[in-house]
């Protein structure tokens, strides 16, 4: 059971002078119940990777399989069983009320009005929006963070087996970012979650696995903690390591024998204090 890309290559405007290689022989797989973070600088191919996985782009070479079934052809639609949260998904809100909007997907899946409503209420609860308070409101009256959560609920209501999110926290304030982070963690229990971002700090703490992309190639694919323990790899992908890791790298460079790196600020402080104690 996985959403797997094997030997996938993709070039935009192939065969023209504007040709841009976005993915080069990429082999990755996303399993159910895990949160995978896809990190890379702008132009590294991470959004293209997500679009190929979702079925929005057909790869030039290689194949995509969904739970063992080969899916091919220029689809231009998202594969059934795959939920895709686009950048600024609140742009898709259209209905008179939030509840009707969230129920749009389930109704299109052929569920009855009542069944669709149940799925909508469940999805609203999953994104932390109280159905009593928000269900009857116009989606256009919501704040930025609330609208983002309502839009994500619209995708979750379709109960996808794999949830792909493209820069889900872009443009949100702290509380909005924390709310989206909580949604990602909660979604893991029902789906395989793939988050594409250029901001490592945001989801590194909740990710099980990280894929680092650079110029369309996978340069790291492993457990999140493995990357935390070797933060110099961020630079290879043209990214800055999270500040908390940079502080510990500087401490190590200054001669402190840190046994390991930690993402949690308190744990990092304890490690540095312990190393200083040991140095004395």
């Amino acid at each position: 059971m996985s959403l797997a890309l094997t030997g996938v290559s993709y070039t935009y405007a192939a065969g023209t002078s504007f040709a841009t290689r976005a993915l080069v022989s990429v082999d990755v797989a996303f399993g159910p119940g895990e949160v995978v973070l896809v990190l890379g600088a702008t132009g590294s191919g991470k959004s293209t990777l997500l679009r190929v996985a979702a079925g929005l782009l057909a790869p030039d070479a290689g194949s995509v399989t969904l739970d063992g079934r080969l899916v091919d052809g220029p689809l231009a639609v998202v594969r059934p069983g795959v939920g895709f949260v686009f950048q600024s998904p609140e742009m898709q809100l259209f209905a008179e009320t939030v509840e009707v909007d969230v129920a749009f997907g389930p109704r299109n899946q052929g569920l009855s009005e009542d069944e669709a409503r149940i799925e909508a209420l469940r999805a609203l609860a999953a994104v932390g929006l109280d159905a009593e308070e928000f269900g009857t409101r116009s989606p256009f009256s919501l704040s930025g963070g609330e609208a983002r959560r309502a839009a994500i609920a619209g995708v979750l209501a379709m109960t996808p087996g794999y949830l792909l999110l493209d820069e889900p926290t872009a443009g949100l304030d702290l509380s909005g970012r924390e709310a989206v982070q909580a949604i990602v963690v909660a979604a893991r229990t029902r789906a395989g979650v793939v988050v594409v971002t250029h901001d490592a700090e945001e989801f590194l703490g909740v990710a099980d696995r990280v894929i680092l992309l650079s110029e369309g190639r996978v340069i790291f694919d492993g457990p999140a903690d493995e990357l935390v323990q070797s933060p110099e790899r961020f630079a290879e992908a043209g990214l800055r390591a999270p500040e908390i890791l940079r502080a510990q790298m500087l401490a190590r460079d200054a001669g402190l024998a840190l046994p390991r790196f930690a993402l949690d600020p308190l744990a990092a402080a304890a490690l540095i204090a312990g190393a200083r104690e040991g140095a004395r």
């Binding site: 998202v78 749009f104 109704r107």
Partner: protein
């Protein structure tokens, strides 16, 4: 979903057609339209077609881009052909006859004449927008409308509205495409059912598209005011476009030839 109409989609280049002063180009297009609407037969249309092919060739704009506009009016073309060609119980020679309905050869020929006229019209006007940047086009319109300011016509404001509208056509098309994909991802289908069902299927696209457009318009207006935009009066230009002798000669010669063709053929 790509925008089917090439209006406002400038194809950059350095051909003589691109370099021609926009006012001269607009004058030539106007003369070309006069020619199209005054010629009486296929000989006149053939000359117009020849001139259109020549202009497209010189402009170096890929023909498929020019023809994209024609594709957008294909329904009108078919309607024109049928409206002139189909006859109820035709007495004259018919090409095809199904029951009481017949396709009359004379009518079909007339329909073809009007259809070709529409095709040539679209090619000519598309070439104007494909070879002239929206900003230059709006500048030219403003200059042409300037005499109307004496009658308190807001030429500057109208030109600015045109510039902004043209500028946002590709952005809006791109945004519409994104919303379509997002709604398809939620199971929306735009290719099923009758015309009414299909039209209703676009509600989830049109509502957010218009909401975003109004929001953006509001933000743009505020941003322009914040940069001291106070309407067109007294605004100067960063680059003034000037009619050279070549532009004037091209306009005079081209317009004379085309209007003469229109009167003779």
């Amino acid at each position: 979903m790509k925008a089917p109409v090439p209006f406002g989609q400038f194809f950059p280049g350095d051909s003589p057609v691109h370099r021609l002063e926009p006012r001269a180009k607009m004058g030539l297009v106007a003369a070309y339209m006069v020619m199209l609407f005054t010629v009486d037969g296929f000989a006149g249309l053939a000359v117009a077609a020849g001139l259109a092919v020549l202009a497209v060739t010189v402009s170096s704009v890929p023909p498929r881009l020019v023809l994209r506009g024609v594709r957008a009016v294909s329904v009108i073309l078919v309607f024109t052909l049928l409206a002139h060609g189909l006859r109820w119980n035709p007495a004259t020679v018919t090409l095809v006859r199904i029951g009481p309905i017949g396709l009359d050869s004379q009518g079909a020929l007339t329909g073809l004449f009007f259809a070709v006229r529409i095709v040539l019209l679209v090619i000519g006007t598309s070439l104007l927008t494909l070879t002239t940047s929206p900003v230059r086009l709006a500048d030219a319109l403003e200059r042409l409308m300037r005499p109307l300011e004496l009658l308190r016509f807001p030429a500057g404001e109208v030109a600015m509205m045109l510039t902004v509208a043209l500028r946002f056509i590709p952005t809006t098309a791109e945004e519409a495409e994104k919303i379509v994909v997002a709604q398809v991802a939620r199971g929306a289908r735009f290719d099923r059912g009758g015309p009414l069902k299909r039209a209703r299927a676009y509600v989830p696209v049109l509502v957010p598209l218009f909401v975003n457009l109004f929001r953006r318009a509001d933000e743009l207006a505020t941003a322009m005011e914040a940069r001291c935009y106070r309407g067109g009066t007294g605004r100067t230009r960063y680059a003034e476009s000037r009619m050279t002798v070549i532009d004037q000669a091209a306009l005079l010669l081209g317009a004379s030839v085309m209007i003469s063709v229109g009167m003779v053929l």
